[in-house]
């Protein structure tokens, strides 16, 4: 187990990057605490898999260092970093039994056979693979194969970090949930540092204690699932997390206050220091239909079963409102109210860190 530090990391797949657009990772400074469960969340192509491969040593970064417990491991190959990685598609050794698959990483490192047996049996019980140890791994279902991949990481009790690269991609939906909670349970048992890469917010938010949100090669926000939901540091986070995502409405600033369509809006933060493009961000859960307030035009209503989502047009932007089942929804013109404690001003996409 180790604390992992990324120190001014940059990476480009091109030999001679000429500008920021050529970098897959655009300078990342990050600390992963020992024993933590982290998720790396972002859309496809945001650089999260690159970052993961840099930590595991499969990719050498163009600039910057990776430290395990303060020791620079940047020049080391994957097998010397003592890490484990579970890939998107289950990797198993077809010709071996489940037992031999799990024993493989230990045997390669010359561990005594009695110790191998003890570890393999312990991990097999944990992963509920103990009934099939004698079977050939080739004929198993994808979820059992993926469990074996995980098991090969877990058998080594000295791994610095276990990394998961979208491990549930090929798993049937009804088993995804099971495997995800299994993973969470395993983390509690073994207390290894785990990094879970995904573009699925549900997977990230249920697995991780802390989520690192990435976009376009940059870490946009690091926080607990609640923080990401309640106080997004960037409109990207607000929009990417939540279903539907946060409403983002262009606004003007008047005397430190946000103004939409001539109506002043109460916000949690002040607008002092806001420059460039200014917007108001508020989640659909914190918007209500009101008798007066911000003028809006109702466009359509969608019923999701648990609640209804009203789509309205405000100052040229689309705004979603979550409405309970009983409430009446007017047609055409209406007014909206935003909960002041959950409404924030963003400038050029970033949260304005200023008091009112």
């Amino acid at each position: 187990m180790a604390r992992i530090t990324l120190d001014r990391l940059r990476h480009s797949y091109l030999p001679n990057p000429s500008g920021p657009q050529d970098y897959a990772i655009k300078e990342i400074d990050l600390d992963w605490e020992d024993g933590g469960a982290y998720a790396l969340l972002g859309p496809s192509g945001c650089g999260k898999s690159t970052l993961l491969n840099i930590v595991s040593g499969l990719v050498t970064p163009s600039e910057g260092r990776i430290l395990f417990d303060g020791v620079d491991v940047s020049p080391l190959p994957p097998d010397r970093r003592n890490i484990a990685q579970v890939f998107q598609f289950p990797v198993i050794y077809d010709t071996m039994t489940v037992y031999d698959n799990l024993a493989f990483p230990l045997r390669n490192r010359g561990v005594a056979e009695t110790r191998v047996e003890a570890r393999v049996r312990e991990i097999a019980v944990m992963l509920e693979l103990d009934g099939m140890l004698k079977r050939r791994a080739a004929g198993l279902t994808p979820d059992a194969k993926q469990k074996i991949s995980m098991g090969r990481g877990l058998v080594r009790d000295d791994v610095n970090v276990i990394m998961f690269d979208e491990p549930l991609t090929v798993i049937d939906p009804h088993l995804k949930w099971k495997l995800r909670s299994k993973l969470k349970e395993l983390h509690h048992k073994v207390r290894a540092t785990m990094i879970y890469v995904t573009h699925d917010q549900t997977e990230a938010l249920t697995f991780a204690d802390k989520v690192v949100v990435m976009d376009d090669g940059v870490v946009v926000q690091i926080g607990t699932p609640v923080e990401l939901f309640e106080r997004p540091a960037h409109t990207f986070v607000g929009h990417f997390i939540g279903s539907p995502g946060m409403n983002i409405i262009p606004c003007s600033i008047d005397n430190g206050r946000a103004v939409i369509d001539g109506v002043p809006v109460e916000t949690e933060n002040g607008a002092h220091g806001a420059t460039g493009r200014t917007e108001v961000g508020v989640r659909p859960e914190f918007v209500t239909l009101a008798d007066h307030g911000i003028p809006a035009r109702i466009v359509r209503v969608a019923d999701t079963g648990r609640h209804r989502i009203v789509e309205a047009q405000v100052a040229g932007a689309r705004v979603h409102v979550v409405v309970g089942d009983g409430a009446a929804v007017p047609e055409g013109a209406a007014h909206l109210a935003f909960a002041p404690a959950m409404t924030r001003i963003y400038s050029d996409g970033w949260l304005v860190e200023g008091a009112r």
């Binding site: 595991s56 499969l58 190959p77 994957p78 097998d79 890490i83 484990a84 990685q85 890939f87 998107q88 598609f89 990797v91 050794y93 077809d94 010709t95 071996m96 493989f104 990483p105 390669n108 490192r109 050939r136 991949s149 090969r152």
Partner: protein, 288 residues
């Protein structure tokens, strides 16, 4: 459950293929079977001879010797071409501008007709004017494939290896190219060495294409005719007279239709049986 429609007229649709197979396989084969159980003294006069030709063929030393040479030859070229083909495929680049160059170079020998290959090696290995033969003799090694049986064998084997290893290379390469990167990455993380990667990842993933490679090379080499015929004509003596060369000698040279037909059938059955055996063993391994 949907009920199946029964209509005997469906059989009509099968007629074209039945006719095709009848004319190109069943009828020619039955002619051979017909010859193999009869004896002819002159044109149009036939006598029933039962399994006599089969017994004669199986007992004849000439046939046994040819079969022995054939098995030895096929065994040797499989033992060389399969490992060599895999080894070359492993060293070929997987990415980059050299891939097409390597593939084309590898495919070249496969594009040369059999008799041309035979003629090429015939001249190439001649002790007095051939580049190979002359060089070897100049180094003080006595080498003359037209006179020495061992030299003739070495030349025939080298020729076949030169001509057909590429096929094994290309098939193995296709097998290797289908292995996702994640397997190699996982193996590195698991601390596997080069041999372990080959043994547990590359070899199992090549299993299927290797089955095909071994089957093709077995069948082709077991039926080899043109190349040794052009190179050595089956000699010196009978030392490189393989089954098909012997068969042609018997059928066309000596016009012994009955024994030749019996020999053809035995030959065919051996090829079929060994191919089937290879196939079952290799595919069972995969499933088991």
């Amino acid at each position: 459950m949907a009920t199946k429609t029964h209509n005997e007229r469906a059989w009509l649709f099968v007629i074209p293929v039945v006719l095709l197979v009848a004319f190109n396989a069943v009828i020619p084969l039955m002619t051979v079977v017909n010859y193999s159980v009869q004896e002819s003294f002159s044109q149009g006069v036939w006598f029933w001879s039962g399994v006599e030709w089969f017994e004669d063929t199986l007992r004849s030393e000439r046939f046994q010797a040819a079969l022995g040479r054939q098995l030895l030859f096929t065994g040797i070229i499989l033992a060389i071409e399969i490992p060599l083909g895999i080894a070359i495929a492993l060293t070929m680049p997987r990415k980059g501008p050299w891939v097409p160059v390597c593939l084309v170079l590898m495919a070249l020998p496969l594009l040369i007709p059999w008799n041309v290959v035979g003629a090429m090696w015939n001249i190439f290995a001649l002790p007095d004017i051939g580049l190979l033969g002359y060089t070897v003799n100049a180094m003080g090694i006595e080498y003359d494939y037209t006179q020495q049986p061992v030299a003739a064998w070495i030349t025939v084997v080298m020729m076949d290896v030169w001509h057909w290893t590429s096929l094994v290379v290309l098939l193995s390469y296709a097998g290797l190219a289908s292995i996702p990167d994640a397997y190699y990455q996982a193996a590195r993380i698991d601390g596997a060495g080069r041999w372990a990667v080959f043994r547990h990842i590359e070899l199992p993933k090549m299993n299927r294409v290797l089955t095909i490679a071994i089957l093709l090379r077995f069948m082709d080499s077991f039926m080899i005719y043109t190349e040794p015929f052009v190179l050595t004509g089956g000699g010196p003596g009978n030392s490189t007279t393989f089954l098909s060369i012997d068969l042609v000698k018997k059928a066309l040279g000596e016009f012994d239709l009955g024994p030749a037909a019996a020999m053809s059938l035995i030959y065919f059955l051996i090829t079929l049986a060994v191919s089937w055996l290879f196939y079952t063993i290799m595919t069972r391994q995969e499933e088991g």
